[in-house]
Amino acid sequence: MTIRVYWQLDVAEDAARSEPGARQSGLFRDVRPSTLNRYDYYAQVAQAAAQTAFDGLFVPHRPQSDDSNIVVAAIAREAPRLSLIPEFPASAGSAVYAAKQAVSFQRQTHERLGWAIADAGEAAERARDGDHVPEEQVHARVEEFLTVARGVHAERPFSFAGAHFEVEGGGFHEPLNRVAFPKVFLQGESEEALALSARAADVHLFAAAPLSRLGGLAGTLDGLALREGRSIELGLVQPVLAREDAGDARRDAARAGLPDTAIAGSYAEVAERLAESAASGFRHFVLAAPSSLEEAYRIGQHVLPRFRALTERVAATA
């Protein structure tokens, strides 16, 4: 089974980097035009991920910074091979319109789009975003959103009348309906989240946690999916920090304030830990580290080859 490894481009991190507004005027002669901007950095990270053989780029939803869908489209043509997975909330707008944008993206980029649906956030956050869906309907809304988006992609005429979305006689014509629908990544550990994934996800992305805990959650998800007659691929969002020397890794991890669930260690150690997750059935890995460009090179150059060698060995002996 194929393992897919994505690099995380967190647009809110390294926030001053390449930001024209953050430039210091001073001693040195600065001829950078304002058109040289943050998106050049995003493109750099994408190219770094592509050149070090990541399979894709995962762009989390960060309301305080650039919109993930705009970011992936802006860099898509400069990173021609990568899968691009923007994360966005189901409150973004009409499901039909979201699907139409998705197929347009698929058509122009050789079907490289993935969809990660973001958590709806707390009630106050939703109210700030003009989103008044009641708490108990948050998951139902995601399910309707996906049902309608997939429906207008797969069928014509497609009609649906739900609590949140409605369409009549919908469905895309040629040539918009010729492309594949993006793979859908859902997240969350609550019972509702797992049950939703069982019905509607292609991939469920778990937050990094000890394998014993992840194993339990994955088992629950498998059981729920089985009842739906479906099978959900498992994924992991894993913070990593790898250095040639394990001591350096622990030192830099402390400096960077990484979460407890991060894997920090030598290249070989990080690769082994990831391979353990792969052996437990995880197939999609979103790797994340602050200083996205530099770490993409480091992980891509030193950890991915070791990780892939280990998982191929596991696959061969299985």
Partner: protein
């Protein structure tokens, strides 16, 4: 005073010529050896190009001849302008992306974030063409069940919220369609300029909404008296509400070195049509007042192309040859420039021009017609003195 000239990115495929109704640019017709972007290589395999590669060529042509940017239309069977614009953001330098969209399809707070992000990606090259009408069966296709006049109310509220959250933090709004509590874009996003807003719509409800939020009022070409009257009403109504409204026309041109060549092109296109195609061009039922005003020209009942000449250099049969408005301008380069001058003299502040095929005609009109503009205006000015 300067006039803004935009071109158009055909997000629904492009014809290589007005004489052929097949979309041989793009994949809206079955792909054959003649198609470009995408096309087939010499072994009959996918050549790897996608339609966006052709749109990139048109955008670069338009920006290089001096068009400010281009309108990117949105219909059920187009690629989407919110995707096309960021895809092309980094390979164009001056080209402004005029995104046509129906505000009801997006959450206004989310739309504000997307727009500010696109402004950052393009250096402020985002323009909006807000569509509210349309209606009929296609609104339900989009998943939108609101009535015509409700949609204008919603558009007004959408723009209230869109501009409100852009204006700073702790923005609250309690409308009929949208409610926001303590919202607002981050300072990183809020320091971008709000995109210029172009509005369409011929109904009273549309004019009311435009008066409040639009920078430009956009109309398809109509017979000049009718159009001048409409623009006068729009400007008067906005002034009565304390605002100021600029007016813009979207129009196709067939411009050739001589008038005879231009009409020969139109005639060849018209005579290539079978009766079925003419029936198709009749158009479906709609609650769009603008579309109804165009259908009144009844091109589908014409038997000769001359039947559709409604005024010097004005032909009412374009909707037979390609989707979109019926009325367009046909003539020599000088005549086309004179008609545009006349529109300017009668209250037009900006244009969205187009020609078939969009790539080559961007060069032709940019190089042959636009430089002739203003000659007649100067003559009129001198005569007035």
């Amino acid at each position: 005073m300067t006039i803004d000239f935009y071109w158009r990115l055909p997000s629904h495929g492009c014809h290589g010529s007005l004489r052929d109704t097949a979309y041989d640019r793009g994949d809206w017709s079955p792909i054959g050896p003649r198609n470009v972007a995408p096309g087939l290589d010499r072994n009959g395999e996918d050549d790897g190009f996608r339609y966006i590669d052709h749109l990139a060529a048109i955008a670069k042509a338009a920006e290089s001849v001096g068009f400010l940017g281009g309108l990117i239309p949105s219909f059920p069977n187009t690629d989407d302008p919110w995707v096309i614009s960021p895809l092309l953001a980094r390979e164009t330098r001056a080209f402004r992306f005029m995104i046509a969209f129906q505000p009801g399809f997006l959450n206004p707070v989310h739309a504000a974030r997307m727009s500010a992000s696109l402004q950052r990606a393009t250096g402020g090259r985002t323009v909006f063409n807000i569509i509210t009408g349309g209606g009929g069966p296609s609104q339900l296709w989009w998943g939108d069940g609101f009535s015509h006049d409700d949609r204008y109310g919603r558009t007004t509220e959408f723009l209230d919220v869109f501009k409100g959250v852009w204006g700073g933090d702790r923005f609250s709004y309690d409308g009929r369609f949208y409610q926001v509590r303590d919202g607002g874009l981050s300072s990183l996003l809020a320091r971008e300029e709000i995109p210029e807003i172009w509005f369409s719509g011929s109904s009273d409800a549309a004019l009311e909404s435009a008066a409040r939020h639009a920078d430009y009022y956009l109309s398809w070409l109509e017979p000049f008296d009718q159009l001048a009257d409409k623009f006068r009403r729009v400007k008067e109504r906005t002034a009565a509400l304390g605002g100021e409204q600029k007016c813009a026309v979207r129009v196709d041109l067939v411009a050739r070195p001589t008038e005879e060549e231009a009409w020969a092109e139109v005639r060849a296109g018209f005579e290539s049509l079978g009766p079925e195609r003419r029936q198709q061009a009749r158009g479906g039922p709609t609650d769009s007042v603008g579309a109804a005003r165009q259908q009144a020209l009844r091109p589908s009942e014409a038997t000769r192309y001359e039947d559709l000449i409604v005024a010097p250099n004005l032909w009412g049969g374009f909707s037979l040859l390609r989707g979109g408005p019926a009325l367009g301008i046909v003539g020599s380069y000088a005549q086309c420039a004179a008609r545009l001058d006349e529109l300017i003299a009668r209250g037009t502040d900006a244009f969205i021009l187009a020609g078939t095929p969009h790539l080559e005609e961007a060069y032709r009109i940019g190089e042959e017609v636009l430089p002739l503009l203003g000659h007649k205006a100067r003559v009129l000015l001198q005569a007035a003195e």
